[in-house]
């Protein structure tokens, strides 16, 4: 029982991390058909900015996380304005441009801080554990879950209650129609890119907490699972991404523990293949 609770908490924490990366990825894809390969690099930027702020920058953890998120958001807006927007009429070239950025940015981070993992400073309040139903669970799992829940609620409020949220939702359904109505989808796209970048870089800062260290290839590694989550959840659906994140995180943790290590990662991939064959449009039935 203890193990099950611990595994469930860890799986949910990992799922929360996936959700933070996947939610922005999903909206960006739904709105513009751009599969953002630089999303993992944005996560790494957030992680390194937070790490730098907490160590060299002399900020406390609670300031370092918003700092990392801000830097990552700024980087994503810059990326969108400088590289994605000029290729507006060429969706495949937009994907390719993000591939280039996704290669270049982690290499730059590696050049500056080396390829070794850097230990991430844990604040005393989050370094401990909590007893839950007899299991000893690290506190940072709950921090991640709380962050993901807050992002999910905020995103849903944004999409359901604001004018821009309406445009984004409509754009995901039918971009051509929204454009024909005289609404500039590009502004909405920049906004979605900023939101996605913010969520991803927050995920990066918290990934440092979860893994205990930051390294340049962390973002790319998480990105692959975020892709899996996006496809399983249905492109463009935030709720689908949330459900799929929880599923993927839990399956991965349980399979890794109860079978040979590494089979959990494999089972996630098999799960995706099976799901796509049964329901080619993902869990929520959105166009994949």
């Amino acid at each position: 029982m203890n193990t099950v609770v611990l595994l469930a908490c860890t799986g949910l924490g990992l799922g929360a991390l996936y959700f933070l990366v996947a939610s922005g990825l999903s909206l960006i894809f739904g709105l513009m058909d751009v599969l953002n390969f630089a999303h993992g690099a944005l996560l790494s930027i957030g992680a390194y900015a937070a790490w730098w702020a907490a160590t060299d920058g002399g900020m406390g953890f609670w300031l370092a996380v918003p700092f990392g998120t801000l830097v990552g958001t700024a980087a994503s807006v810059l990326l969108e304005l400088a590289l994605i927007r000029p290729l507006y009429a060429r969706p495949r070239d937009q994907i390719l441009a993000t591939v280039g950025v996704g290669l270049a940015l982690p290499a730059l981070l590696m050049g500056i801080w080396g390829s070794d993992a850097r230990p991430f400073p844990q604040p005393a309040a989050l370094a401990g554990t909590v007893d839950l139903l007899g299991a000893t669970v690290p506190v940072n799992r709950f921090v991640l879950m709380a962050a993901a829940l807050v992002v999910l609620v905020l995103l849903r409020l944004f999409l359901a209650r604001t004018r821009y949220g309406l445009i984004v939702r409509a754009g995901v359904e039918d971009r051509a129609m929204v454009t024909a109505l005289g609404i500039d989808v590009r502004k909405a796209f920049t906004l979605v890119f900023a939101i996605g970048g913010a969520a991803a870089s927050l995920g990066g800062a918290l990934a440092g907490l979860y893994f205990g260290s930051v390294n340049p290839s962390q973002g790319t590694g998480l990105l692959i699972f975020a892709f899996v989550v996006v496809v399983m959840g249905g492109m463009g659906s935030v709720t689908g991404a949330a459900v799929a994140s929880v599923g993927v995180g839990l399956v991965q943790q349980f399979a890794n523990y109860y079978t040979a290590a590494g089979l959990g990662d494999l089972s996630v991939v098999v799960l995706l293949a099976v799901l796509l064959l049964v329901k080619p449009r993902g869990l929520t039935g959105r166009l994949a």
Partner: protein
């Protein structure tokens, strides 16, 4: 006469490439040693190999319009299956290589038939997922077979003597050249066959092919399998060239590198992927040397840090190509000619703005 000569330039280039090991021509800047030295031959052989791999990958991307993110899986299958057949079953090199390619064909057929059931970006995702599974499997070292992070080196006792040792680099070079020629021949032959014309139709508009009464699925599966088999054969050549199998070959970065090569050279063109593969591989190796050189070490940190990361330079270069050179290097001459023609033509015909 000149048109006649133009037709034969690939053959002339092939002859030059074939004769390269006999030459001691120094190529300062491009290569470290003279042309025929083992170090230079090794690098050129890798360039030719990746030129061939990129050409085979473009059979999917540029010819059939299928964006696969999992091509490295088939390359790695050819590489590991051949190596393991020698190490574990004690097969000789030739049967092991045939076994490796057969494994690749079987895997491409199986996974292709599954992943082609979804279209568009879903297909890209499924191929990525399968390749990721393969990469994880290789890294986890099941049953001590793959050697995990270390990889496994090829057994010298099972390789023909003519393929071992630095004095035989020329033979490996010729094998890489032969692989490239075979790949180019297979790609050109299939693309100009009736099947190839249907691939072009699928690339332009899959729905229209269906309306004509043809099922695109089978044709796409053929493209996927042929392309996978070519990648598997490339894995065999890679095993000979580097003398072992390492997990980097299976990683998603390897597929992305192929994608970068194809786009750099020009997707869907006859020579573009080859050119892109050669340039990328050469740049990746030379930039690595450059990064370790003294002249870079003396630069201020602002310049030194980015310049010492080959992937940073290649990534940036790639973005620049996507941005400034749509269609890649292969389309560059036509663009230059087109640009000049347009400049001279516009005043004469007085085309109004936006009429084209």
């Amino acid at each position: 006469m000149t048109a006649h000569l133009k037709r034969w330039w690939p053959l002339a280039l092939l002859l030059v490439l074939f004769a390269a090991p006999y030459s001691a021509l120094p190529v300062p800047g491009l290569l470290d040693g003279p042309l025929g030295s083992p170090g230079s031959l090794q690098l050129i052989a890798l360039c030719l190999l990746y030129g061939g791999l990129a050409t085979g990958y473009d059979l999917l991307l540029g010819r059939t319009g299928l964006l696969s993110f999992g091509h490295a899986l088939y390359f790695a299958t050819g590489l590991y299956a051949t190596d393991l057949a020698m190490l574990e079953f004690g097969l000789g090199f030739v049967p092991a290589a045939l076994f490796g390619v057969a494994c690749t064909v079987a895997l491409a057929l199986l996974l292709g038939s599954v992943s082609l059931r979804v279209t568009g970006i879903g297909f890209s995702m499924v191929t990525l997922a399968f390749a990721q599974a393969g990469s994880i499997l290789v890294q986890r070292n099941p049953g001590g077979l793959t050697g995990g992070e270390e990889g496994r080196s090829a057994p010298a006792e099972h390789l023909p003597d003519a393929l071992i040792g630095i004095q035989n680099t020329a033979n490996l070079y010729w094998i890489a050249l032969a692989y490239l020629v075979v790949t180019l021949a297979v790609v050109h032959w299939t693309v100009s066959s009736p099947t190839g014309r249907i691939w072009a139709g699928i690339r332009e508009n899959e729905r229209r092919v269906e309306v004509l009464g043809l099922r695109p699925y089978g044709f796409k599966l053929v493209a996927f399998t042929v392309s996978g088999a070519l990648a598997g054969a490339g894995g065999v050549v890679y095993l000979l060239l580097t003398g072992g199998a390492t997990p980097q070959a299976a990683g998603s970065d390897a597929t992305l590198a192929l994608l970068v090569m194809v786009v750099l050279g020009g997707s869907g063109t006859r020579w573009g992927p080859l050119l892109g593969g050669v340039l990328y591989t050469w740049a990746a190796h030379r930039l690595g040397d450059l990064a370790n050189s003294d002249s870079i070490a003396q630069l201020p940190a602002v310049l030194r840090v980015p310049l010492s990361q080959p992937l940073f330079l290649l990534g940036t270069l790639f973005v620049a190509v996507v941005y400034l050179l749509p269609g890649g290097l292969a389309k560059l001459p036509a663009r230059l000619r087109g640009g000049r023609a347009a400049k001279t033509a516009v005043p004469v015909t007085a085309v109004p703005e936006g009429a084209a």
